[in-house]
Symmetry: C2
Subunit: 596 residues, 2 copies
Amino acid sequence: MSYRAPVAEAVFFLEHCTSLKRLAGQGALAEFSADLVGSVLEQAGKFAGEVLAPLNRSGDQEGAHFANGKVTMPKGYPEAYRAWAAAGWSAVTAPPEWGGQGLPVALNAPCIEFWNSANMAFAVGPLVSMAAIDAFHAHGSDELKRLYLEKIITGEWLATMQLTEPQAGSDLALLRTRATRGPDGTYRLKGTKIFITYGEHDLTSNIVHFVLARLPDAPPGTKGISLFLVPKFMVKPDGSLGARNDLRCASIEHKMGIHASPTCVMNYGDNEGATGFLIGEENKGLACMFAMMNNARLAVGLQGVGIAERAAQQALNFARERRQGRALGATDGASTIIAHPDVKRMLITMRALTNAARAICLKNADALDRTKHLEDEGERWIAHEEANLLTPVSKAFSTDVGIEVTSLCIQVHGGMGYIEETGAAQLYRDARIAAIYEGTNGIQAIDLVTRKIGQSSGKALERMLAGYRDTAHRLATMKEPAFGPISLRLKEAIDALERASAHLAGKLAKAPNEALAGATPYLRLFGLAAGGAYLGETALAAKVAMIAGDADPAHPARIATARFFAENIMPASAGLERVVVDGAGSVMHSDQVLSA
Amino acid sequence: MSYRAPVAEAVFFLEHCTSLKRLAGQGALAEFSADLVGSVLEQAGKFAGEVLAPLNRSGDQEGAHFANGKVTMPKGYPEAYRAWAAAGWSAVTAPPEWGGQGLPVALNAPCIEFWNSANMAFAVGPLVSMAAIDAFHAHGSDELKRLYLEKIITGEWLATMQLTEPQAGSDLALLRTRATRGPDGTYRLKGTKIFITYGEHDLTSNIVHFVLARLPDAPPGTKGISLFLVPKFMVKPDGSLGARNDLRCASIEHKMGIHASPTCVMNYGDNEGATGFLIGEENKGLACMFAMMNNARLAVGLQGVGIAERAAQQALNFARERRQGRALGATDGASTIIAHPDVKRMLITMRALTNAARAICLKNADALDRTKHLEDEGERWIAHEEANLLTPVSKAFSTDVGIEVTSLCIQVHGGMGYIEETGAAQLYRDARIAAIYEGTNGIQAIDLVTRKIGQSSGKALERMLAGYRDTAHRLATMKEPAFGPISLRLKEAIDALERASAHLAGKLAKAPNEALAGATPYLRLFGLAAGGAYLGETALAAKVAMIAGDADPAHPARIATARFFAENIMPASAGLERVVVDGAGSVMHSDQVLSA
């Protein structure tokens, strides 16, 4: 059950396959040196492994506890949280003018992965708070920021995001929580929110809720939604805590996993109404949310990577110890199961899927950094579109990978994987939520198809595919036996993705429902091509290092991982293209199946 | 959460796509009429829905309870079990000379599906007992049968199968439980068994354990294993219960799912040794086990079908009620989510996978019946080989489908799917075990590749593929617009399967590890081709009925399901072939990935 953060892997990718070195030392990153990356990630990995990981199983067993409106976190969580915040992990990417460190998203991304590998139920609370920082910083007034932002950034207080209501999940147009204008410029909120992550807990002295609500005269639908800051305790001008606000946690959910994460029903306005402060403009609340959406979705993708990494490690450790059956060619007694080809396939599949998902997320993080830090406006726009394209893929592909890899972890363990004591079952239970929250994976696929691949009339996608083709070309021209097959399969996947994209573009104009019906297999296809291309880049960088005389055994492993992915995962591409192109019609013409 | 057994679907398949009508009224089935099928399945479905299903969630919450060597089943389970046994469901296929009904496996198969849809944790106990009947009947002495078999068949007592030990899971060669010969022809057993399903409980007055153990002078490995009947209470010659035997349940496991099923650690011989009676010959215990293996593996496959069916129903019911988002073309307010193409894809995928898995299992059941009941010895042999081929596919493909479909059920529910109250999470947790027990799905794939596809020098597989090609041909020649695409995709899948099979046959001779490394994707490919062919048969039968004027809306649904499967599930075939052929090499040459 021990967890070792894959620091070297993240550092290698950041150094060789992202712009981090290029961005370091310039503009807002003037004081950032890429040489720092390794030591920062070492510290993060150490904290994750030593402080958070040991609380993962006990937190699962104990769970968050609710009584009389209060939530008690599992033993050790408050101390761990305070240590985490004190070390500054909450502030990595936050704005320096409010106490943040202003470091690259690509540096924070592996940290987020590590927290989630170690303890997903712990990590999800801070993740939400970090996302809230983005929206708050972009749209809050200076007066509000002065009172609240710095304390959220330092982690003294945690923030929440409150969108969902019983009738309004994926469809925010349906939300009903009401906000009325008070005489003093503040607002009074009444309503009920559900599925609120860390809506109540005993980790921090105050909790700052960001709540979507509707004004009495608001237009219907999503154009009538406003965003409010609603503190648990009012804050006095000197920063000290004042009266309890009129809101409470009514209950917490009994979930399949992430038991230590309190998922709250929140009631606003039992009495006079909860006091809220407008963020941004009235009726523009959703636009404020968009300021945090890319980062939040990437963070959930990293949860998928994190839980997959943990599962891959655990399965490998088990397979190295467990003896069953004599492998072909072995001479004496039972072999460790790692020697059996079918187990080996599972273990390498876990590693390849995990690394591919990580590569996609780190490329996404890098695109967000370039969007912010590049000097040239045109380049920034290109990076922005790239981040837009990658975000739904990071979120959905990686969280699907989280499910697949944790399932394989159970399978490698055999019967022991089904026993809770082993820990594999918890990973499987925890992983499942990430495909649902922060926009279901279906919503991500629809976002990709309807809003992302058509950016700049398809030019953004073209650029990305051209980059993938360039990688395939470089692989084909470098002398390394493994690169031929990688290049071949990568080209096939890119071709399939390109044709499927063109098909969807046509369908969007003429039969949009058929485009929507192809969205999920299309996103998977995108993930395979992107993952293959980025693992290919990693393999190229590894080969270059080997040619330069670097004997690190991780280099041949990187090449072998890329090859395995190409030969065992990417061949699904052609079938996915067929499903997008031919299958969507039978989705839309099969109503008999569901009415019979 | 209500469950409606798919009686009409099972009856249609049994009538039109199996030999049931041909076998009825002949030989041992002289008194069986195919007209009975509908009413038997109606009763089974009613019992499952009315008695077992209501206990599913309470059983999950309450769990089996262990204290002081005793296991208390959840509330309502003893009554439900007694009603189930009293109705004769334990005896459907059991030998008539010992009180069984001697009915076809194909009739029992839908019943098994229904029990598992309603309550998998309940069903698994009786399933093990039914499997034990097969082994006992084939190899037990008449004296033992007289005392024990009839009471197991009537369900008055339940039987267990005890193979696993801590160091011996998939690898039975490692088992250590010792049996020594007593002076009276009985044996004394000492040792520990784990993961024993229903090893102890309060459903029946006695429990009859079938235990694998090793004699002191036994040869090492699997050739030194003997099978013993070890009753919980000794049975006197008059059938009444005597002394408690020297065995006890030491604890039960805390599992991820099937909480109501007690999974026991069993200790034998704390004192003088548990008294056991030899079944079959000394050191031939594994051969006795083989007598029950095909049926037991099919039964676990049916667990996959059952849990998938339940999940498909629950997701569909939810999607018909839940309103979120306005579908394209809808005019007013939020649509029920069934109208959204991506949700529709999930729902039809669930239905198509479930029906394909059921079709494979029912074909497998039919092959077992033909093995037993056909008059011609040559035909019986052909049926036997067919059953052998289909068994690992039934088990592994169907239980994988159980996992996939229960995962989609959660996804359709969105956030609510992750809350235990909804019931979707339980289905997902319960489903996971079926891919592990009764031979992991990896073991099934290896069985298929190493022992089944080579039967009669490949002739058995050739015959099966020829049958699938015949279906593709019939589809191509019948006038129905949907049949063209079904036939096309089916042919592609059969071609891919045929080439992959030839490749594996070659590898088995020259590089067997590479054949083993391709086993899991090969089994999936086999499942896609078989499922597609059998859904194609169903579609053909539906079309024939429609031409004859039958306006049952289930017929066009059958055609649409087959088409959806062909266009959205089967296109994975080509990629799977590539993985079997090209990918296995990189499995075996990627050790760097796992050692880095």
